[in-house]
């Protein structure tokens, strides 16, 4: 038997298991019926049993490699579809000599890298300044630590427009 046929059988049996367990649970609830239980209450019990069985079977199914394979295929398709859409829109914008979102993304990424590099440099300068300040303080016989530590340059990395409104 080929792998694909075997996979199909495994998927089918996993799916069949869900319903088998559901019906078993339903039947079990039916046997627990007594004249004391009122119909709405009995129906609720039966429903609860079915949901419990369904829940358990679905959990098992969602853990199975079959489900994960299906999920992977769906994700791959969604990504491919999205990429096709993005590419098409980029081409359309470019053919009209316009700016596509991909161009803005590239620009944003370039700015982000530049920002990182600049801030790394600033951080290095800050560290050096701190060390110098410490040395100067020690020389002046004022080894006491400064009040509030200075916010590092790294700390302002994400701050495009920083406002404090205290």
């Amino acid at each position: 038997m080929s792998d694909s046929t075997e996979n199909a059988f495994e998927q089918a049996s996993a799916f069949q298991k869900i319903w088998m367990e559901t019906f078993t649970k339903m039947a079990q609830s039916g046997f627990s019926f007594t004249p004391d239980s009122t119909p709405p209450e009995f129906m609720r019990q039966m429903r609860s049993g079915i949901f419990q069985a369904l829940s358990k079977s679905w959990e098992e199914y969602m853990r199975s490699p079959q489900f994960r394979d299906t999920m992977k295929t769906m994700m791959d398709n969604a990504i491919t579809f999205r990429k096709m859409g993005n590419d098409m829109m980029t081409q359309a914008h470019h053919s009209l000599q316009g700016t596509a979102r991909a161009d803005i993304d590239d620009l944003m990424q370039a700015i982000h890298h530049l920002e990182t590099r600049v801030l790394d440099c600033v951080e290095e300068v800050t560290t050096r300044l701190d060390r110098l300040e410490e040395k100067l303080n020690l020389k002046a016989g004022n080894g006491a630590s400064r009040g509030t530590p200075r916010a590092t340059a790294k700390g302002t990395k994400a701050a495009g427009k920083q406002t404090r409104t205290s």
Binding site: D36, E41, F51, M71, K157, A159
Partner: protein, 364 residues
């Protein structure tokens, strides 16, 4: 026929229960227009607050209290980037924030805001060494305290642990709430689904930019499909006559459906570094040019976990206490789910007062 015989006659009781059920159905139907109106009037957040710091989309809320803070160490709540943070201050009687405010803590909460496509390149470095660092520095400056206590929830807990490991000198106490630390466990479905063999996060981020809110919401719903998609609506319909239940239900659902996208850069690092490579427990998780070493956490640690958490199972949070360098460490396991840990009645009655006492002893 005597009264006794009527009551004990099964046919009579069956008939009566069916009639009662019929009337109940009718009452529920009549209430439907009222329910729609109620669903649209849900209030977000219960405690009074003011914005004391803003940066890009981030807002830092300071909770107002009638009395002066009793403890000199301020407390900062760090929520996940996935949903809105008002779950921590959902409504009166179900607010984690109000426990701490009433106990006398100077309490702050970070609202990350909703990222746009322009934020797709933001990374964990930007959030942890950028925004979080600025917030902690601002709070320290504002209060004059040398250190702050941090309480991180879910993904915010993981980020708080990383922040503390990188900047231990700024953190007095660390409280984690359902925070993912050890991602090796296969107990949770998210850990299984995000396996590198099944999920190519690079291609995903390349195509979508940010991780879309709808995608995240659908994934969370799928963790418990029968409960979320079938049982919940039925349960709601059956209890539609109970005002308190309806009120709680709408407040909760409003929050659950108030998803926001996760910046692509952060999503990529989180999935790759944590879910797929489990770098945090190996003390080799990179955040910018720094490497997170959990052994550098030496402050008191309180690790609060939910016993029935399907999003961050206990097995994912529990190893944290053994990985840190702190001597003062404690765990609390609450019999609740991921959200119940914050707003559930058991957590509200027992876990949060205990957490307040724990923090009070260490905030003087």
């Amino acid at each position: 026929m005597s009264d006794y015989n009527v009551i004990n006659n099964p046919w009579f009781r069956w008939q009566r229960s069916m009639i009662d059920e019929g009337f109940s159905q009718a009452r529920r139907m009549v209430r439907l227009p009222y329910l729609f109106k109620k669903a649209q009037a849900v209030k977000k957040g219960a405690s009074p607050s003011e914005v004391v710091y803003e940066e890009d989309r981030l807002k830092l809320l300071h909770y107002l209290s009638d009395t002066e803070p009793r403890y000199k160490t301020p407390l900062i709540f760090v929520f996940a980037l996935v949903n809105r943070p008002y779950i921590l201050d959902l409504k009166e009687g179900r607010s984690v924030v109000s426990h701490f405010v009433k106990a006398g803590f100077d309490t702050y909460l970070i609202d990350w805001g909703a990222p746009t496509h322009a934020d797709r390149h933001l990374s964990l470095d930007d959030y942890i060494n950028g925004y979080m660092m600025n917030v902690v520095d601002h709070v320290r400056e504002r209060t004059g305290a040398p250190q702050a206590s941090i309480l991180g929830y879910c993904m915010g807990g993981t980020m708080s642990a990383m922040f503390t490991a990188l900047h231990q000198e700024k953190v007095k106490n660390l409280l984690l709430l359902a925070a993912g630390i050890d991602f090796a466990t296969r107990e949770g479905l998210l850990n299984l689904w995000s396996d590198a063999d099944y999920f190519d996060v690079d291609r995903f981020v390349e195509a979508f930019g940010n991780a879309p809110a709808e995608f995240l919401q659908a994934t969370f719903q799928l963790l418990k499909p029968v409960q979320n998609l079938i049982e919940k609506p039925i349960n709601f319909y059956e209890k539609a006559e109970d005002d308190k239940f309806v009120d709680d239900f709408f407040t909760m659902e409003t929050w659950l459906n108030d998803n926001i996208a996760v910046p692509g850069g952060v999503f990529r690092e989180f999935v790759k570094g944590l879910y797929q490579k489990n770098l945090l427990v190996k003390n080799s998780m990179p955040v910018g040019k720094h490497i997170v070493d959990l052994r550098k956490i030496t402050c008191p640690v309180l690790n609060i976990m939910a016993q029935n958490d399907d999003l961050v199972p206990c097995a994912q949070s529990a190893p944290f206490n053994d990985l840190v360098g702190s001597r003062d460490r404690k765990s609390i396991v609450v019999p609740a789910g991921h959200i119940g840990l914050a707003v559930g009645s058991k957590a509200q009655k027992e876990a949060w007062p205990e957490a307040c006492r724990w923090l009070a002893e260490r905030s003087r």
